[in-house]
Symmetry: C2
Subunit: 185 residues, 2 copies
Amino acid sequence: MGHNSKDERRKILEQELSQHPFFTDDELAARFKVSVSTIRLDRGALGIPELRERTKAVAQEAYSTLKSLDDQELIGELRELVIGERACSELMINESMVLAKARVARGHYLFAQANSLAVALVDSPMALTGSVELKFIRPVQLGELVVAVGKVIKRKKNKYWVQVSVRVGTEEVLRGDWVLFAINR
Amino acid sequence: MGHNSKDERRKILEQELSQHPFFTDDELAARFKVSVSTIRLDRGALGIPELRERTKAVAQEAYSTLKSLDDQELIGELRELVIGERACSELMINESMVLAKARVARGHYLFAQANSLAVALVDSPMALTGSVELKFIRPVQLGELVVAVGKVIKRKKNKYWVQVSVRVGTEEVLRGDWVLFAINR
DNA sequence: TTATAATTGTGACCAGGTCACAAGTTCGTG
DNA sequence: CACGAACTTGTGACCTGGTCACAATTATAA
């Protein structure tokens, strides 16, 4: 066989499976015009488990992350919370939060962190965002740790004014003013 | 057997499996102190497929939503786009987007839809949000179809002013003004 | 041409099922 | 108490998508 046909095939196989893990060995054999045995040897050499194991892995991974997203009323991790006064949360910017091209956090993740922090500050089982003014001061890069600090600056009955400042280190990257309403049905 | 022991078991079985789909029939049999055959009958009656099918379903669902989230530079489905002019997208509010208590859409989903629409309008491989002013006019309920319409109202070099109006039916639920910057590295 | 590497085929076995059917158990009611 | 209906259990044949070990075949490079 070609000096590199095997290694090349294995490289492609590895890529394909990492991108699209739901192929049987039969399908792979057809796709690579090679016997099933060869595919099995290749998988073995590459340490890639069988279809069912791959499926299971995807399912379990996804299952656990879905679960945790479900609980996530608050985006980021809460560090401090004095309801009606001040709060602070942290968010690590990971792969799933950045624009593919730019490795820069999508605006709505930062908004989500700040907004959920503002909501948490309201002394009520439920709060709705009324209006917001915000400035994105500089883009946030992949891997940066973002810290949001929120303060209630005014309150009139069920209406709250909250200021949120989002920082990376000491540098402010986002600042916003929220007006929220407490609903206490 | 008890007058309701079967129906009760099936009810619990259904719940258990919907919450935690990775049990084999053997494990379920042990758990319910009943034979494997009975579990199979129960599953059959409830229309619940075997472990592998369940795993596959979870994996594929998760895989496709992960994929689409990955591609999802844009939140919602694009209906119209004339870059640099106007655009329109739709978003169906589902379970995962609402606050557990109130069945009302979390603010950051609406923001995400509007923000990603605004970003899409900018004629550039990449755009960053500069500042935003927005008003949440009324909360959006679970199951409502949200339509966002964006217009570029002004442009100066790489700086864009975009207005986004988000509606449910004819009713405006969110309105905002964005200032964005095109990055053309 | 021949040694070596790569590929292919074969047969036995496994988990976690499906399906059809027979046999055993429990229960309420006459 | 007996009996029929509902429920439960067991059995055997078969399926998919593999594993593993080993033998046979087919390139390919020297």
